[in-house]
């Protein structure tokens, strides 16, 4: 399977109908941030330079996979509301997440993601590196 490198730690995985990425991170927090950046690349967002302030997301779920789906779903919702998150910071404690980011107005985006799915989602730590696959419904 030939993967297309989107970022240094985000690879696009071929998928017949939808979209999938493999994401790496030196920490869980970095994995979550890279996953968000990968998703934003798939959406192909054009945003304005004008910062409209900081926002915060607080989430609590039963496990890290649920937390990742919930986190990315929140970002998807922000994009639908025409707000682009930048300089994303993530703190994870147990199965709780706190994320802060700057928001910029979105001019347009080229692709719609219907949802973040649990399909093939499995956060693993291999050789000190966190990794997972994420499949999006397009």
């Amino acid at each position: 399977m030939q993967k297309n490198k989107l970022l240094s730690k985000v690879f696009e995985v071929p998928h017949t109908a939808d979209a999938a990425i493999d994401v790496l991170g030196r920490s869980l927090e970095e994995l979550f941030i890279n996953a968000a950046l990968g998703m934003l690349l798939i959406l192909e967002v054009n945003s304005q330079e004008r910062d409209v302030g900081y926002e915060k997301i607080l989430l609590a779920e039963n496990d890290h996979e649920s937390l990742l789906v919930a986190f990315l779903s929140e970002i998807l919702y922000l994009v639908e509301q025409k707000r682009y998150p930048s300089n994303i910071q993530v703190k994870i404690s147990g199965s709780q997440l706190e994320s802060t980011f700057q928001c910029f107005p979105i001019v347009s985006y080229n692709r719609e993601i219907k949802a973040v799915t649990f399909n093939q989602l499995n956060i693993m730590q291999i050789n000190g590196q966190f990794q997972t696959r994420i499949v999006f419904d397009i």
Partner: protein, 482 residues
């Protein structure tokens, strides 16, 4: 997998036996010719069907349609029925775009007369029916109005002047599935639905003007109002952000439910709840809300398309009426009665990228169609034919009265972008006599005709397996892609 893993039942039916993988509760039946079977082994779609055969309470067999391709848990083109007594309902096996489906509208407008106006008509539809990424509808509804849409479906459109009784008569479930309870959907789902009713969306959603270019069953075509050389319109869309949110909410909350009921599933996207549990009933009720929203969404697009035809064609004499032939769901869970092992049983039929296909005589069909069976709509790509077919009584025995929903993708979106340029796709289709209006050229390249299977081949399999019979073939002349 390889061909030796299948038992051939007929030229178009193949079985993966229950014992193929541990945990399978039923076999998988694949409807395909040998070439399509080989092609379906190139991605994970058949493994996803095998995973679906693990669902608790699944009965008889999981079915895989000829247009199958890889999904995100359950295959696109998959059908699984679960027992109402001890079975489950799985939101992921229905999909995020709940009641994504197709509306077919027909007319007595001769293409030869309307030809000079086709570009104007498609431009008018394009201006009245918002499409593309992030685009909402013309109406901005309140929370209460969205709840009313969810609870009453197309009857809301009728009360507000956007539908006729004739439209309602020819929509699956008359445009409103009973049991919808808006209190079962989240405030975010409602909020996302408020600006989106009457919008097409993006991806593979479309509005398409076609010509009826071949009639295969004259009597049935006459009953459906399909006349050779006349214009018809297809609308393909679903429940937009409201439906996506409903599915996301329940897939998330069911992650906890799976543990509670000790379900052992091969994929977390297949999480489910017993149909007779509080969680299962709540989801079913929420799903009905999203399905009713989707029926109403297609109704509004039909209303504005009808208006476009009337406005533009009023310049020439004749009737410009567009009447609803049928409107059907292809991502849905339906409570239906089926014969299993010689006995009638009530089941929840999960159809993910599959269309209901009732045969002649079924009680749920509109009176006009009772003798011929349910219209089945199989759209091709924007450059190829679509088919109007009829459900058969054999489909009741073989596939829980289900059939293919389209051509089915064969190429990934990123590969399509590398291989095709949107501008070139549009140019080539224009040379073939097809006007294209698209939200973005990148999106158009992802939907190039070459990324889909040969729809005629899919239809040949469907007919060969006796799941549906041909009525008419449609040729595209103008397409709006989201």
């Amino acid at each position: 997998m390889n061909i030796n893993d299948f038992r051939q039942i007929s030229e178009y039916e193949w079985e993966i036996k229950r014992g193929f993988q541990s945990g399978m509760r039923v076999p998988v039946i694949v409807f395909a010719d040998v070439q399509m079977l080989h092609e379906s082994m190139k991605d994970t779609s058949l493994q996803q069907a095998i995973n679906a055969a693990h669902l608790p309470g699944v009965v008889k067999n999981v079915c895989v349609m000829p247009d199958v391709h890889q999904g995100y848990g359950f295959p696109i083109g998959g059908v699984a029925a679960t027992s109402l007594d001890n079975g489950v309902i799985s939101p992921g096996a229905i999909g995020y775009d709940i009641n994504c489906g197709v509306r077919l509208m027909a007319s007595q407008i001769e293409y030869t007369e309307a030809k000079p106006f086709i570009e104007e008509i498609i431009n008018k539809i394009n201006s009245l029916c918002p499409s593309g990424v992030g685009k909402g509808g013309r109406l901005k509804l309140t929370k209460n109005e969205i709840e009313e849409v969810c609870a009453t479906g197309v009857r809301w459109a009728l009360r507000n002047g956007f539908a006729t009784n004739d439209d309602i008569a020819f929509i699956e479930d008359r445009g409103c599935i009973d049991g919808a309870n808006p209190s079962m959907i989240s405030s975010r789902a409602i909020q996302r639905g408020m600006p989106q009713l009457g919008s097409l969306g993006s991806g593979n959603h479309f509005i398409e003007i076609d010509i009826v270019d071949k009639i295969e069953n004259k009597e049935a075509a006459a009953i459906l109002g399909l006349k050779k050389g006349c214009l018809v319109l297809q609308i393909h869309t679903g429940s937009r952000g409201l439906g996506h949110q409903v599915c996301s909410d329940y897939v998330k909350s069911f992650q906890h439910v799976a543990g509670k009921y000790r379900f052992n599933l091969p994929d977390r996207e297949l999480v489910c709840a017993p149909l007779d549990s509080r969680e299962g009933k709540n989801y079913l009720s929420a799903m009905c809300c999203a399905a009713n929203f989707a029926f109403t969404n297609r109704q509004l697009l039909a209303f504005y398309s009808r208006r476009a035809f009337e406005e533009i064609l009023s310049k020439i004499p004749g009737s410009f009426n567009l009447y609803t032939v049928y409107d059907l769901a292809h991502n849905i869970g339906k409570i239906e009665n089926h014969e299993i092992s010689g006995k009638g049983q009530t089941v929840c039929v999960h159809r993910k990228g599959a269309t209901r296909a009732y045969g002649p005589g079924h009680n749920d069909l509109p009176g006009k169609y009772k003798e011929i069976g349910q219209p089945v709509l199989i759209p091709g790509s924007m450059g190829t034919h679509s088919w109007v077919m009829l459900g058969t009584n054999q489909a009741a025995q073989k596939s829980f009265s289900s059939c293919s929903h389209g051509a089915g993708r064969v190429m990934s979106r990123s590969q399509a972008r590398k291989r095709f340029r949107g501008e070139k796709v549009r140019e080539r289709l224009y040379e073939e006599g097809i006007f294209i209006r698209a939200g973005s050229m990148a999106g158009l390249s992802e939907e190039a005709p070459q990324v889909y299977k040969d729809v005629d081949r899919v239809v040949r399999c469907v007919v060969g397996a006796n799941l549906a019979s041909k009525v008419a073939r449609l040729k595209p002349i103008a397409v709006i892609k989201g």
